[in-house]
Symmetry: C2
Subunit: 400 residues, 2 copies
Amino acid sequence: MISVEEARARILTKLGPLPAEIVPLSEAGQRVLAVPVVARLTQPPADVSAMDGYAVRAASAQQGAVLRVIGEAPAGHPFAGHVEPGEAVRLFTGSVLPAGADAVLMQENVSVQGGTFIVGESVSPTSHVRPRGQDFSEGGTILQAGQRLTAFRIGLAAAANHPWLSVHRRPRVAILATGDEIALPGEPLPPGGIVSSNSHMLAAMVSAAGGMPTILPVARDTEDAIADAAQQALGADLLLSTGGASVGDYDLVQAGLARHGFVLDFWKIAMRPGKPMIFGCIGALPVLGLPGNPVSAAVCAVLFLLPALRRLQGLPADPPTTLRALAGAALRANDHRADHLRATLRQDGAGHLLATPFPRQDSGMLSLLAQAQCLVLRAPHAPAVEAGEPVEVILMTADD
Amino acid sequence: MISVEEARARILTKLGPLPAEIVPLSEAGQRVLAVPVVARLTQPPADVSAMDGYAVRAASAQQGAVLRVIGEAPAGHPFAGHVEPGEAVRLFTGSVLPAGADAVLMQENVSVQGGTFIVGESVSPTSHVRPRGQDFSEGGTILQAGQRLTAFRIGLAAAANHPWLSVHRRPRVAILATGDEIALPGEPLPPGGIVSSNSHMLAAMVSAAGGMPTILPVARDTEDAIADAAQQALGADLLLSTGGASVGDYDLVQAGLARHGFVLDFWKIAMRPGKPMIFGCIGALPVLGLPGNPVSAAVCAVLFLLPALRRLQGLPADPPTTLRALAGAALRANDHRADHLRATLRQDGAGHLLATPFPRQDSGMLSLLAQAQCLVLRAPHAPAVEAGEPVEVILMTADD
């Protein structure tokens, strides 16, 4: 058995960022930049007003002075003339500051009558002016390769005049469930059978993490069936299997994959839930064989699949981000296997995150997993923890 | 001017959950349940093994006893016979416990020779047995209406034998940018013009939050153009406009919308950035008029659009979730407008969340917004805060 950390490192070392593709800005949300974004223009392109108001010369716009309105410059329609002492031009937020002006007088401090007004409050040079290039300048790098394109970054790339972005291709993940006992949801269920839940759960995880899942037909428990199914996955970026990976007599996944030249890297991790997890490659195709138990499969997916998808997408493939929380209940000393307790997470009145494991941690409890908000990490041989002592957690879901 | 809280309440009161639609399990990820999910079967369907091992009668499986293997029951192939004292049946994780057996002996504690083995460690009744219905029982509610379908919940719904789920329809959001100065990314830019960034930023936010954006053509600054554009939005669930909402002379959005019977609810909020925000309705169509400034539009979207999308999708439309953090720098006393400081967020060694506002908070800085991880909330008239004192924050982005 190898450790969680070693298993993750051995998986990630076989993976690299997928090649780039060009996508329109409108389809780039949540994708990962393959090359930096360089500004194609300067923003703002000129000194502009930060307010609705009047462009003035600060020297002549002191309290009590009378100024004459000589024109207006709505955003997009710059004023062509020149502002002289004693003059003002009506402006709006984003309007280009006309030549000659060096400050903006807020409209709240002015009431115009007959084309003139009295300055209510003196202004200083550069008041309410956004200088040219304050946000970014042409040729400057505004987003880095490897950054995920959040909505705000999409806005920034748009503002810098990019209609197309170069992003890493989305990982194609073939998902293969194996087992004679498996039926698809809604289909006739054989005696002693169970409904396939892993494939759809994993497909939803892959989609949410930025990949493109393909759910292959369920393979029966024969080498032939598994070999046939694997054939269909050979064009994918990752083959994810579930079931058939345990120690028993019916562990045919390896045998079926072997027909395509599968080379095993490891198949046992010192962790709970989810000890029996296969990793290896068929040529360049990485194969992650998750346990058939849904809770074990889910925890293994959080620990290994999500970092793998991050690396394939060009994100830093660090271990999953952990947060420091306080244990909401006492925890027993751990044995030699790293444990991953399903738990709720909330912030107490003092601002501490409080992680409270469910009293039942049986890996048969998918209904509890569905309500869990985090995994509490328990290292091998971790000593007992009292309620209120610190623990590390991995966030799992939103709070809905 | 009204408060942020009153503005949000007045928006939400005009919105309700959209009607339900039926989607296949494979497309239900991130959607919101419109009706509870009731288990269609019992899981596990019988007492099953939690381990690879042997089904036994605990009374006859005490240390040193010799048991005879009378058959095997791989998952999906229940053993048809009956286990008598002195007998054992080979089982795998998930195998149905055969009649007569009441416990499972772990295979690690056994080595079979010639069809018999010696019990290495006594077992008790129910050892390593998952009782029928431990996870859920037929007819029991396993997911509630109003819950978002995370990957784990998709797995649970699958396990409960649901190929289809009833979810709230995705909100259709028409996005209308207005302004003579606006050009689409990559298109010719007029003098003094700026590239449209709000539409694509908002579309990405809408998509990420579960809605379906439609970006309408940019409307020029005439009542006619705005009225024509609004016509195209009449079938949407929400019309989101940006720009043209400020106090200036060119505020034509309201006038253009008025041709369709727009009824204004409010147009000014005591907040920064983003004071000028319109809300009203054209018949049953809610209209949210965001500021043209991208940072202001983004902050208003976090505070008002996201809760609106939550309510339309059937989620609880609470205020955005806030976390308690410590200020990473001293903050000045606030004026009468609620402020929303763009900030980084990290956890310090002691487990405290540390929110550090960027030194520059000018709402022209889209490049800073793109790096912000949270908004630090500053209530109207909030007193000055020393570094290390508590503040409330709204999370904005992932950490990539």
